[in-house]
Symmetry: C5
Subunit: 301 residues, 5 copies
């Protein structure tokens, strides 16, 4: 089992450390791991994501789920944060997602425009901000330009910055696709080089090798791949996302391997709430069983 | 009959609540519903919209109609607001439309440029601002960028923000078109995720299914569709627009179903003023008959 | 004969009213009409416009002509205003033209970039600013963006804003062309919706019907067309431009019909100075004869 | 022999007049004419321009040449000005060239980006700034936008503005090319309309007529062409540039005709320093012989 | 052996001279030469560069290598600088690399977006900033625009500016390619013209002549080429970069020729750390042997 960097060695200023400490040690399992509930799919995919469980269309229901399930945080866009978070303010950390887009136009030139600022996050009592960076997109110049402002504001205001590091765009499609080991590994490193405090990646697929650079065109085990991705993130805490709903066993295996590799935690949305309430809670409990086995930074203080 | 969210639970600051309360309870039927008169067609379509009733070319005539008809507000672009609203200031709420465009170039890359600011609205005594967001347009980055500034100014100045959420552009045309259930539902949710206080949508057409995502490629009744759209808007008040003139019965049916679904009101322009004055007033009376049956938030205080 | 809106009902602030009053009642015929001399053709078309009368290449000559001819104003770009207006400062009102372009590249995506600010106009003692808006151009977003700043500065500094409302670009070419009744009517309305104090249009050609919207695809007399254009401008004062040199009788007919329709005046350049000095003065006198028959707002105070 | 406008009638503020007076009457021949040494070819063409005389690669050598040759000024980009001008500060006026580009990509959409500001020029003790405007380029909007800021800063800081008015881009190529009489004449006028204090043009070629507007498609003598160009510049002082090295006699003839037409002076670079030191000095002497015959504004004071 | 310009004659302000003096005379060999360790390949190429020596994936390892090897500085992106430099602060100078990009999309329109500011460098205790300029790229306007701000901030804050002058883009590919003598020579001159204090170039290849301008289409020895490049940089200190790993002898030869030509030093990354620790140290020692033979500016004071 790999270790995970301690909060004390990440180069955090006092505000960032205060808020990350709150998220990691005063919520969830209080053991330095994290389980986050992302809820921006209504914008990213549209209401169709709620057809499997119409109750999940209600942000109030999801916020309650985050509280009841003992999540370390819930990620919302500005509109839902302003309308619904007040009711649960302080009961679960808020991650204000600062950018987002619909999936209506093609992703060839993917760019996720800003909808809110770090100052909005401060005003709403959030403990972190989220930013989607489309690594490799032809629109990288615009992406990096808006990211740079976010990074600087987050530093200035002491707000932890979680980067959704998502390979995307025509060039990535030609080099193994968005969840190849190559793409995910590069995305994790990019987030670290550019100053993310926490990076969220998809689980890497080493078997997707069509068009990847030679170094990645070899046999890697799934565990070797996720190990390498965590290493590429170095002192950036790493979260693995769930993605579209898949079988529970596959998800739990993914969670276990990620924690084994030194990840800090998981960020699972559709796999949690695209089912009835009881099933959601049961699945969350199984995820937490895994996280309980990998306490992080217990040595701190 | 679905209920409509109460003003007290929308996350409004004092300025926004004051102005929305004025619009919804001190004008029109004073019962929490709304009937708005939009008058930006001279810019959006050009003077041809007035050929059916040349008197309607005169903004003074339209402003008088809004007062006489007991509307909850009139929506104008900055030029007409500056030249004509003074004469009726305080007699009917002004919604300053902040952006708009001509229909001369193609809508493939639709974007509606800003012409005024929220500060202009404050200066002119307006009680709300209107913003057209072209959901799904390839120009989404520019659209969201200017919207973000508007949203932030509206919050800072306590001005209610009404989003004209209009699916538009080449990708939407390939996925069912701009008034498909899919497109309208996604547009309502987008406005809510991004912080609209009120959203204006076209009435959804569940029968337009060519190219829509699988979830929408099924039999939905008209009522089920508008019900879902209102639910997608969650704590964002919803207005249904009239669109181009159609038969009165169809319009009244649309109005009734919308209110049944939990909408806050209607925003009808051409259907109102593309006819002689007496007929306009008679049609308005029939719309108000419907609104009278759906008082909203009567329980507040 | 149609009436023209009175200065008192245009929604003007004190600075704008002061300066428009000076232009309309303290210069020219002092009767509320206006005859302007535009002199930006050296930029818009290049020196070739002066080959018919080389003396006209000298801005000093043109400024003297404006004074001697009793014009209500002369329109200049910043460079010529700075180099030549001082000699005649106060003797004829200056309209500082804020944007302009060469005619070297194609007009398909026409946009007229800014060269000066409203503050420059104040500094130079100007009584109005001019802005060319290319209605219908694919570059509308950039056009409206720079216009918005000009409109706001003009309001803040009390400077009357004259919009050169010129239909232009590929879409207009496909819908009847830049001087069709449809295009000119839409342009006048657009300027009014967007807050022009005065709008300059080309004389409408109702016979240009190829590709125009159905409402315009009918028989309209020339007088009916210019009447409609003036009505579309509502409380925006309207000027008719002369365009390229044509026969004097055609020009005088155009002038007469425009004033009959309720226009405030004329803005004639090449038709004035593309001939010898004596002929210029004689033609000006004939234009003034017409204007003298249509005093505007004589009832004021 | 045509006259040249006097400094007193150019609409200059005190700072601009002070600095132009210094350049024209306290350096060079002290007679109101000017001979400038441009040295931005290392950026515009690359080091290949120095292969004919490798010594010329050294900016220090060139600065000494400007001092020894009695030039009225040397034009440098910011980097060379900061590294080399200090050694000769005050001994020859500095013209800080504010923009420039390499000739590596095609000139179809030519635009010359800014590298320095007018404030940099003030800081470095410069007596003028230079700006390359690509007249007729499809990138005109960006060009004019950056020029506008330069013009305004130059006015505010009292710094003379010399515009390199260069026709360029696909449309110009289709209309006679960049040194046709049509193109050069239009460029001179554009600089004047847009507020240049001094304009630098290439010598016009009236025989290049393929594709030019009708007015220019006629027989013009070389002298008639340069006369017209100086007239188009009106109260903007005009400099003629040397361009690529050609025979000395051709150059001297060009110089003589330009001065005859009323130009203020010459700006010759490669023709001066693409030869050995002694030859350079001899050629400069012959240019100065010509300039001595055309004293400008001697009547001033 | 050519000489190298002295710090006293580079036009440096006090802050820049202080920091360059520290880098050149208080670290490394203390003799005015420099050996830098660049470590931005994780962003520029992705983690694949670390597959040859997985330890090199750890920025902490690399920082220790810089200290132990007696480097004159280590170049890092903002994220790694914030997370890892604190541990070694003051022990080796930090060069904060301000821009960078992934190599996922094509380089046809190469542009390297900014990720940090000169103020970030000051805050982190850096002694220089690095900026990648893609000379000849079709995106030159955007490149120069962001560079201009960096140059100005660096001057204002007294921070030495090292320009990675890299020919790149479609036009360069058609004219000999990015490491032709022509391209490297032009790049060095461009950096000097635009105000770099130090320029980093690739070693020139005079044999790459396909498509180069005539002046470069001749026989040049390797030494003649690097001599010319150093001369083109004039008073800009020049560093030669190592590029992809090649044989040690070739690298040492490149180093020797560069120093012979008057370069200030070397910036070698992959050639240093793509091997085991002991081999890295041995190779560094051989580079330093060469640098020791070329003390620079020893005469200063």
């Amino acid at each position: 089992m790999k270790t995970c960097p301690d909060l004390g060695e990440l180069g955090l200023n006092a505000g960032k450390k205060t808020r990350l400490h709150r998220i990691l040690y005063q919520f969830g399992l209080h053991n330095g791991t994290a389980l986050f509930l992302p809820y921006d799919q209504g914008l990213e995919h549209g209401p169709r994501d709620f057809f499997a469980n119409l109750t999940a269309s209600d942000p109030g229901y999801i916020a309650r789920l985050a509280v009841e399930g003992g999540f370390n945080g819930i990620a919302l866009q500005i509109g839902l944060a302003e309308k619904f978070y007040w009711d649960y303010a302080g009961e679960v950390p808020l991650i204000l997602k600062l950018n987002g887009k619909t999936d209506i136009p093609s992703d060839d030139q993917a760019l996720s425009p800003l909808h809110a600022t770090v100052a909005d996050a401060v005003r709403l009592g959030a403990d972190a901000v989220g930013y989607t960076m489309y690594v490799g997109t032809p629109a990288a110049e615009a992406d990096f330009a808006q990211y740079r402002q976010v990074r600087d504001d987050a530093r200035r205001l002491g707000m932890p910055l979680i980067v959704w590091a998502y390979p995307r765009g025509t060039a990535i499609e030609a080099k193994g696709g968005k969840d190849s080991f190559y793409a995910v590994d590069y995305a994790a490193r990019t987030a670290s080089e550019l100053g993310a405090d926490v990076v969220k990646v998809n689980f890497p697929h080493p078997e997707k090798r069509a068009g990847v650079p030679r170094a990645y065109d070899a046999e890697f085990s799934t565990q070797a791949a996720i190990d390498a991705v965590v290493q590429s993130a170095n002192r950036t805490l790493l979260l693995v996302s769930g993605g579209a709903q898949a079988g529970d066993d596959a998800m739990l295996d993914k969670a276990r391997r990620s924690m084994e590799a030194g990840a800090t935690g998981l960020i699972f949305g559709r796999n949690v709430w695209q089912r009835a309430h009881g099933e959601s809670m049961a699945f969350v409990a199984r995820l937490q069983e895994i996280l309980a086995k990998y306490p992080r930074g217990g040595e701190q203080r």
